[in-house]
C-alpha cells in the first residue's frame, strides 16, 4: 500500500510497513479502517498465534461458543415461533414493566410484551440487514478493489480517489446520507449500510490484489499466455477469498450495530417490529427502574459482535493455513 501516497491514512500504512518486514498486504489496513477491530491488527496477529499454540483447547472453546451463539440467532431468525410465543407484539397491560421472572425470564416492556419474545423475533430483521448489506456491499466493494488492484493504471487511480472520498465520511455518516435521501424501508436500510461498506471492502481487497499480483505464480500465468480475465478469476480472486471472508464476517456485526443505532435514533425502517434498536431506545426512558428493556437487547447485539469477530478471526486462520 505504500505506493498510493495520496490519502489521509498513508502514515498508518507506513507504520504497519515498518513494524512488519513482510508488510504489503492490504489486510493490515483493516484494523486501521475499522479502528475498533484491534484484535485483527498485525501485532495482535503475532500474539494470537502464540496464544493459539499455547492453548489450542481454550481457543477452540471460544470458537465453539461463538458459533453456537450465532447458530442460535440464525434459528431465531428462521423459526422464531419454536423459541418464543406466536405474537411478540401482543400487548398485555397487566404485565407491563415486570422484572425478570419465571414467566418472563427477561422481563417485560412498558406494554407488557415479553422482552425475550421481542429479542427472538427481532433476530430476523437484524440478520437480514447484517447479512444482506454485507453481501451486497462486500461483493461490489471486493470486485472494485480486486479489479483496481490487479489492473492498476488510471482505473485504479480513479477508483482509489473515489474510495478515499467515501472513507473521509465516517461509516455511520455515509449511511446517514442515504437514509436521509430514501424512504425508510428495510431494503433501503440494507442499501445504505451496504454503500457504507463498499469503500472498506474495496480498500482491503485492493491491497490484497496488489500483493497477490506480485507473487511469482501470477508472473508464470502471464508468461504462459493466459488472458487477463482468466488470471483474475483463477488466480487473483481465489487468493482474495480469505481476507474478504474475514472482513465480511466482522462487517456483519458492524452492520447490525449500525442498524440498531439507526433505529435508536428513530431513523430505522418503520415496518420492522420488533426491532432491537427501537427496543433499546424505548427502554431508555425506564432505565432507572426497569433496566432490562434496554440492557438485554444491547447485550444480544454486543454478543453478536463479539461472536462474529471471534469467528472472523478463526475463519482466516482456517482459510489460509500457510498464514495462520
Amino acid at each position: 500500500m505504500g505506493t498510493d501516497g495520496m490519502d489521509v491514512k498513508v502514515p498508518a500504512d507506513q507504520v504497519a510497513a515498518r513494524s512488519a518486514p513482510d508488510a504489503g498486504t492490504g489486510v493490515r489496513v483493516l484494523p486501521l479502517i475499522l479502528g475498533r477491530w484491534g484484535p485483527l491488527g498485525r501485532p495482535a496477529v503475532a500474539r494470537r498465534r502464540r496464544a493459539r499454540q499455547a492453548s489450542p483447547v481454550r481457543a477452540r472453546i471460544g470458537l465453539v461458543i461463538a458459533a453456537a451463539f450465532l447458530a442460535l440467532l440464525v434459528l431465531w431468525a428462521i423459526i422464531p415461533g419454536v423459541f418464543a410465543g406466536t405474537d411478540p407484539t401482543a400487548v398485555n397491560p397487566l404485565a407491563a414493566l415486570t422484572g425478570p421472572s419465571v414467566h418472563n425470564f427477561l422481563g417485560t416492556d412498558q406494554y407488557g410484551r415479553s422482552i425475550y419474545d421481542e429479542l427472538v423475533y427481532g433476530a430476523r430483521p437484524a440478520l437480514e440487514v447484517g447479512v444482506g448489506s454485507t453481501l451486497l456491499g462486500g461483493a461490489v466493494g471486493s470486485l472494485i478493489g480486486i479489479v483496481g488492484g490487479y489492473l492498476g493504471g488510471w482505473f485504479d487511480l480513479l477508483i482509489m480517489r473515489l474510495i478515499d472520498m467515501l472513507l473521509a465520511l465516517p461509516g455511520l455518516l455515509l449511511a446517514l446520507i442515504f437514509i436521509a435521501a430514501l424512504p425508510r424501508t428495510l431494503s433501503n436500510e440494507i442499501f445504505a449500510i451496504a454503500i457504507a461498506s463498499v469503500p472498506i471492502f474495496a480498500r482491503v481487497l485492493r491491497g490484497q490484489a496488489v500483493q497477490v499480483r506480485s507473487r511469482p505464480f501470477v508472473d508464470a500465468a502471464v508468461v504462459s499466455g493466459l488472458r487477463r480475465r482468466t488470471i483474475v478469476i483463477r488466480h487473483i480472486i481465489p487468493n482474495c477469498v480469505a481476507p474478504a471472508m474475514e472482513l465480511a464476517t466482522v462487517y456483519v456485526g458492524v452492520a447490525i450495530v449500525i442498524a440498531a443505532s439507526l433505529s435508536f435514533l428513530g431513523l430505522g425502517p418503520s415496518e420492522v417490529v420488533p426491532d432491537w434498536g427501537t427496543l433499546i431506545q424505548s427502554g431508555q426512558g425506564y432505565i432507572d427502574h426497569d433496566w432490562w428493556i434496554s440492557v438485554f437487547p444491547g447485550v444480544i447485539v454486543t454478543l453478536a459482535v463479539i461472536a462474529l469477530s471471534v469467528l472472523g478471526d478463526r475463519l482466516r486462520g482456517a482459510l489460509e493455513p500457510a498464514r495462520g
Binding site: 495520496m6 498508518a12 479502528g35 501485532p43 435514533l265 431513523l267 459482535v305
Partner: protein, 310 residues
C-alpha cells in the same frame, strides 16, 4: 517539514470537494421534489411554488446549483433550511460548540485511557491486571454506544449519583457521554500501545541501554513508551472518525444539544440543506484533523520526514 504540511493539504482539498459533491448529489438527485418537502404537503398555489423555486435557486441547472453550494460553503453559507427557512449556518453555529466540547473531551479521554491502560498492560504483561485490562477493553469496544450509554446512566447516574444522566452545558454533564465514547474508542489503542511496547521491549537497543546502566524507569518511559506512541498517534487520528460518528449517536443517547441531534432532526424533517451542511462540516473536520495528526506524526518520528522527503 513544510513539505509534509503542503502535500497533505494539497491532497486534502480535492477530497473535501469530492465529499461535497457526493453529499450534494445524493441528497439532490435521489429524493423527491424539494418544493413538496419545503411546503410539507400544505396546499400551495403555483405562484407560491414558483416563489419557493426562486428563493432556493431550484430553477438553475443542477451543476450550477452545486457550484453555488460549493461557493457558498466556502464562505460559510450553506443556504436556508427547508424546515425553518432560516440560514442553516446560524443554527449550526449555535450548536457546534457542544459537539466540539464532546469530541475534544472524548478524544482526550481516549488518549489518556488508551495509552495509560496500554502501558500498564505491557508493564504487567502476563499478570491478572494485564488480562483484566484486555478483557475490559475488548468488551468496551464491542459494546455499541446505545448500550454503553444507558449502562453508564444506570450505574453512574441512578445507582451511584455521580453525574447527571442527560443534558448539556456543564462539565459534569460532559463526563458520561465522553466516557461512553472513549470506552468504545480506546480498546484498539490499548491493544496497539501494549503490543508495540512489548515489541520495542525486545529490541536490541533496549538491551544496549540496560548494559549502559540506564535505569528501568527511564528505559520504559523515555525509550519504550515513546517509541510505542508513534503508531498510537496515527491510530488516534483514525479513531477520530469513530468518535465523530459516535458523537452523533451519543448526543441522542444523553439528550445533549449539538450537531448530532441537529442532524437527526434534519434527516427526520427531510431538511436537506441542514443535512448537507452538517455532514460536510463533520467530514471536513475529520480530514483536517487527520492532516494535523499526520503532521504531529512526522514531528514525533523523524524517519517519516526522511521517507516522505525522498
Amino acid at each position: 517539514m513544510l513539505g509534509v504540511v503542503g502535500r497533505r493539504i494539497a491532497v486534502g482539498i480535492p477530497v473535501i470537494i469530492g465529499v461535497t459533491a457526493i453529499i450534494f448529489f445524493v441528497l439532490r438527485v435521489l429524493p423527491g421534489n424539494p418544493v413538496d418537502i419545503i411546503t410539507a404537503g400544505a396546499p400551495t398555489t403555483p405562484a407560491e411554488r414558483q416563489d419557493i423555486i426562486n428563493e432556493f435557486g431550484l430553477n438553475k441547472p443542477v451543476l450550477a446549483q452545486f457550484g453555488s453550494f460549493l461557493w457558498g460553503a466556502l464562505h460559510g453559507n450553506f443556504g436556508d433550511s427547508f424546515a425553518t427557512r432560516l440560514p442553516v449556518m446560524s443554527q449550526i453555529s449555535q450548536q457546534a460548540m457542544a459537539t466540539v466540547e464532546l469530541a475534544a473531551a472524548a478524544m482526550v479521554l481516549t488518549a489518556v485511557l488508551g495509552i495509560g491502560l496500554g502501558a500498564v498492560s505491557a508493564l504487567t504483561y502476563g499478570s491478572w491486571i494485564d488480562a483484566a485490562i484486555r478483557a475490559v477493553t475488548l468488551l468496551g469496544s464491542s459494546m455499541p454506544i446505545i448500550l454503553t450509554g444507558p449502562l453508564l446512566i444506570l450505574l453512574l447516574s441512578f445507582t451511584v449519583h455521580l453525574f447527571p444522566a442527560t443534558g448539556s452545558g456543564s462539565f459534569s454533564q460532559l463526563v458520561l457521554p465522553a466516557l461512553a465514547l472513549a470506552l468504545f474508542a480506546c480498546g484498539v489503542i490499548v491493544r496497539l500501545v501494549r503490543s508495540s511496547m512489548l515489541e520495542v521491549k525486545s529490541q536490541e537497543f533496549v538491551t544496549a541501554l540496560r548494559a549502559k546502566g540506564v535505569g528501568e524507569a527511564r528505559i520504559w518511559l523515555r525509550h519504550i513508551l515513546r517509541n510505542a506512541l508513534v503508531p498510537a498517534v496515527t491510530l488516534l487520528g483514525v479513531q477520530l472518525g469513530t468518535l465523530l460518528s459516535g458523537a452523533v449517536v451519543a448526543e441522542t443517547v444523553f439528550g445533549r444539544q449539538g450537531l448530532g441531534s441537529l442532524l437527526v432532526t434534519g434527516i427526520d424533517n427531510k431538511d436537506y440543506p441542514m443535512v448537507q451542511a452538517i455532514v460536510l462540516i463533520i467530514a471536513t473536520a475529520y480530514i483536517v484533523l487527520n492532516i494535523i495528526v499526520d503532521v504531529c506524526y512526522s514531528l514525533l518520528d523523524p524517519r517519516v520526514r526522511v521517507q516522505t522527503a525522498a
